[in-house]
Amino acid sequence: MTSKECPVDLRASLDTLIFSSNRLEIEELHMIREFMRKKFTNIYVDKANSNSDKLVNILVLDKLTVKPYPEAELICRLKAICERENIDFSFPQLVNPLIIDANLHDKRKIPTIPIFKMNDDSNSQFQEKIRIDFTASGSNFNDIPIHIPINNNVPQENSYLSFQPRMDNNFNNTNNFLNPILNPVIPIILNNRDSILNQPNSQSYSNLNNLENNHIKNPTTHNLSKGIDKKQDQLQNDYANHYAINLIIPQTNRDKNIDGKYKNISNNSSLPSLPNAYNTFACPDKRDNFTKMNGGLPPNIVDNNFNMSFPEFKCENFNNIKAGLTTDGNLSSGENIDFKNFPEIKDINFNHNLGLPSIESTHNKNE
């Protein structure tokens, strides 16, 4: 009666049926599952039920999987209740108030950790190189980046922040400047958003302020985005002159030679073939000052995939962050980075402007 294996072309459909049968109260599906159990043995049904081969239709999977709501969303709703009921509840500092995308009319869909995604699908060849998944930046709420909604009602200029190091004496020739490893496009996550928004003489940040005000006008977002806890106020006073910045460099394709040494991308590069011959940044005007504030120089964390990331660090003057070149792990001098003048994302070779990113919520993302 039992057959050896389920035909491959039927696997996806049958797996989907069996997967749904255990999660829905539909008798016909239960009967189908039992037929399949008799026909293809228990092992197959168990595999289909646990979706171990990942063949279940992704839409069905998404609909039938029970996911916990993101903590940020829960907290937002709890904050709304607290405001409505006049409860003086002090939320932990780590939980920041979020700005909510006005595009999402359904209140349940509050974006949590956004993914920057290029607007134009034709640029997909660049996406893998530039797209940054913020979930990689950390699991704690402190790492939630600014949520900047992009829609037609708000100005799009400077609606996110990124920078690229400029050409200067550290880049001996144009090839080095264009070298994605030596001079990558780096998105920035700003943790201490409110301090930055309060900076005078900063066009980008005032635009951010406008963005936020636009959202506060929206009644659906008002309750959730306003209200800063006492603890957070306290922390912001402590950090009055500091800015905490997370920098993440996207994965780059740096190949190794046969002898295991890193290839130089550019033939004209005068840089040594060292694994840490990449562009790096550091912030402060004075190294002593930086080490004093941060307890040391920022460690250069590079994994096997050549993902490089800096942990959060503080610096005194936001406009004095420097990008420079290092060959030995220590920062040499570099050019100041102008945060205000780079409101665009470019491709990895700096040839094409990829336009503004759109932000997609990870809440409904299919895993």
Partner: protein, 68 residues
Amino acid sequence: MGNKQKSKPEKLLKTSELQTYITIIQVKLNQGRNKKLTLIKRKLDEIIKYLNNNNLDIAKAKMDSLMR
């Protein structure tokens, strides 16, 4: 020789009977809605209670179950 089943004569509903059925269904729907609303209100009250007692974790769990 067969298993002929006698077809039952169709029952004709009077208008008053139909009206009664409709009323009953309306009442049942209302009851269900009220039950659900009471449940939500009770859960909200619980959440407020936990927030007042500084129990953020439990409040979050309750909120999660409420949103489902």
